[in-house]
Symmetry: C2
Subunit: 190 residues, 2 copies
């Protein structure tokens, strides 16, 4: 795999529970080092538009044709606004990787969905899609779902785009931008 | 000079002439490659708060003590909201470099200030501070003012923080963030 492939990393801004909308930031990077483009959309907190917002961001970008994969910080944006990674893959033809540092506690998530949403079973069905893989790192393991690439290829994409710590640069940089723009100064994720 | 020195790059967002406020983005990078922090402030379009906004951004950042220099995209933010680089240097103790790709047309600037502002002579006095140096590159030359470092040191800072094109990464990345967040997709500056 080429080291300089273009990857899109997506992350959301921090929000208060009184906020109706949050910010979603996408960054296009070559491999793990060179920032080429910054994208922004709004999203409904705890809404149901995460998949369409991500699709819109990708399909309308002038980098669409050059992208090789999409990297997501987990399976949801703006609270429990869950991303259907199968639909995202099918409609963009781009492999999708979700990356999480903490092992998801699925029972706890299911309970929270049940308590909060009438349509909890839809959200739960979307979250449950795909197999959760463990990727060992020199630090703690990370948890990865992938669609459109093999697990081996997913590990290679993660490796070539990670500089320090365990989080690929496109996700780390998207996080710094989303939190810095919202709060005035970003807080770390490494 | 160490290659991994921390630099703060500052740029403003694009704006429409009906906007009252614009966004100012600061990025802390190690040398020319590793993004560590994103900062954001608002600024009055054509106002007089650019110097205090930059000072506030720097003095309140948790990276303040580690910064070695501030890189500005020209001498103004948000239209003609001019930055007093002497004051910025004196109050932050950080060297300041302004970098411009196009040779400033000072007569044209003076005319525009006279036409637009009652306090044009204050703004003009601030813009006129410091000597404009030419830095030759493999492409077109760039125009640089510096305070707190020698011109030789300023050239070294520019060289170590430029990856592609002629603009140092902290300014290029601040520009991509400011324009991407404001417009939805950034446009280039390389």
């Amino acid at each position: 795999m080429k080291q300089q492939i273009r990857l899109l990393g997506i992350d959301d801004s921090p929000f208060r529970f009184t906020d109706k909308y949050g910010m979603v930031i996408g960054v296009v990077m070559r491999g793990g080092s060179y920032l080429e483009c910054v994208l922004r959309r709004n999203i409904v907190i705890d809404g149901t538009d995460a998949t369409s917002v991500c699709k819109d961001m990708i399909l309308n970008s002038r980098y669409k044709k050059q992208l090789k994969a999409v990297l997501l910080d987990g399976i949801a944006l703006g609270g429990f606004n869950v991303i259907d990674i199968n639909e995202l893959y099918n409609d963009t033809s781009l492999p999708v990787l979700t990356i999480t540092r903490d092992k998801p506690d699925f029972e706890k998530i299911k309970m929270a969905l049940k308590k909060k949403f009438k349509d909890w079973d839809n959200r739960w069905a979307i979250i449950s899609k795909g197999e959760l893989n463990i990727v060992e790192t020199s630090n703690n393991p990370i948890y990865v779902k992938c669609i459109g690439v093999s697990f081996e290829e997913a590990k290679e994409i993660i490796k070539l785009s990670t500089i320090r710590g365990v989080i690929p640069e496109p996700i780390r940089v998207a996080h710094l931008i989303a939190s810095g723009v919202t709060r005035g100064e970003s807080y770390g994720k490494a």
